[in-house]
């Protein structure tokens, strides 16, 4: 039997709506993808496109409207809330967030099958060329990957070197726009996507120059 995929986001929908009687959908995120091997995945997309919501769904701090998130074959929402951080961790800029939403009390949930987090999600880490800390951060991502974890790096690039970093370190990409995900196996095919080039605009040209 093959070992289960490291991260399987299975038909996850998250719908936010407004109004009690006349429901209007204000935001709708749909995600369905599988990452079987350890690696570093880059997530890009405009602000408000649903990147942070996606991360929250993966770590179990947000409840999907439908679908499930499996980390190493384990449904994260079936794991005791105080042990979910042993499966997936959400880094918010400079600290880690441990906040979980559950529909059932912990005693009805299962313990985590692992003791160390398998999936590390970095939510817009602050890359600043002035101080040189980027190098240590990138080394840290690589170290995690070499220890067989999955690193997901979410960036909203606004300077050419942000793209340079993504290109240097990420092995595959996910592009998020208006709640929809597009996958790309490498940087070049990511740039084939006209939505991506439109979103990045001058940054790509700037890098080429």
């Amino acid at each position: 039997m093959a070992s289960p995929a490291l991260l399987h986001v299975n038909q996850v929908h998250k719908i936010y709506s407004r109004g009690v009687f006349n429901k209007q959908t204000t935001f709708d995120l749909q995600a369905d993808f599988t990452i079987s091997e350890p690696g570093i995945v880059g997530v890009m997309g405009p602000n408000g496109s649903g990147k942070t919501t996606l991360f929250e769904l993966i770590t179990g701090s947000n409840i999907p409207s439908s679908g499930q998130v499996l980390v190493n074959g384990q449904d994260i929402h079936q794991v005791r809330s105080d042990q979910r951080d042993r499966l997936a961790i959400h880094y918010h800029q400079s600290y880690q967030v441990r906040h979980f939403r559950k529909r059932r009390p912990n005693f009805m949930l299962q313990p985590s099958p692992t003791d160390y987090p398998l999936v590390h999600l970095f939510d817009e880490p602050q890359f600043n060329t002035q101080d040189g800390y980027i190098g240590f951060m990138l080394d840290f991502f690589r170290r995690l990957r070499d220890e067989d974890r999955l690193v997901v790096l979410c960036v909203h690039p606004n300077e050419p070197f942000h793209l340079q970093i993504m290109r240097e370190i990420c092995e595959r990409f996910i592009f998020v726009q208006s709640g929809r995900l597009t996958q790309a196996p490498d940087y070049d095919s990511l740039l084939q996507n006209p939505d991506v080039t439109a979103y990045l605009g001058d940054l790509v040209g700037g890098q080429a120059a």
Binding site: Y91, H92, Q93, S94, Y95, Q96, V97, R98, H99, F122, Q126, N128, T129, Q130, D131, G132, Y133, I134, G135, F136, M137, L138, D139, F140
Partner: protein, 247 residues
Amino acid sequence: MALFEASHLHKRFADQVVLEDITLSFEENQISGIMGPNGAGKTTCFNVLTGRFKPDRGRVHFDGRDITGLPPRKIARRGIARSFQMMNLFDEYTALENIVLALPEVRDKGFRVLHDLSNDSGAQDRGAQVLARMGLGGREGALASDLPYGQRRALEIGIALAAEPRMLFLDEPTSGLGTDATAILAELIGEIRKSVSIVIIEHDMRFLFDLADHISVIHWGQVIAQGAPDQLRENEWVRASNLGALA
């Protein structure tokens, strides 16, 4: 065994994990550095190490003894002194009084109501010596609140040093200082390292790379890199940054 060892420290505030499994050790007679980007939890780490906050989990050992969760005054009495990033001087006191109050011999006389500090030439002289060492000779009588910024910083470190600690923790000593004042401070620290083990928290890499013997980089509540300055300087991004260009 290192003079100061912290193992598996955890600290969280509500949802935020500020320290996650931090393990650090600081050797005797060295300058150890803790660095990290702004807001990366360095000061929290510092506060846990020096007893201001109790860690949720993990132990802190100093000189082979467990000091986890001891109140600040007991940690101070074991021989650990610290400076503060937000300067915490006694503003109504003169520079000399600030120092004298920090002397352990004065601390032991705290309850002697008949003692006259101003006639205690021993304490006064030792206080003046510390001030002279800090480059504040001649400013004994100036009120702490009247000193210029750089001298307040020096006094801040002087207070910590006057406690005659075995280990001195400095919290962002360069913050707010200009280039010249930073150079003076570096010289000062180079001078006091002869008598005391030092731990410095900084986000200014260049300052630490020049001074420290060993550096730990903290981010996301974890130690993301550590080593001697030369090892860390190998990193191409570090070299490509301003620091690298200048180093």
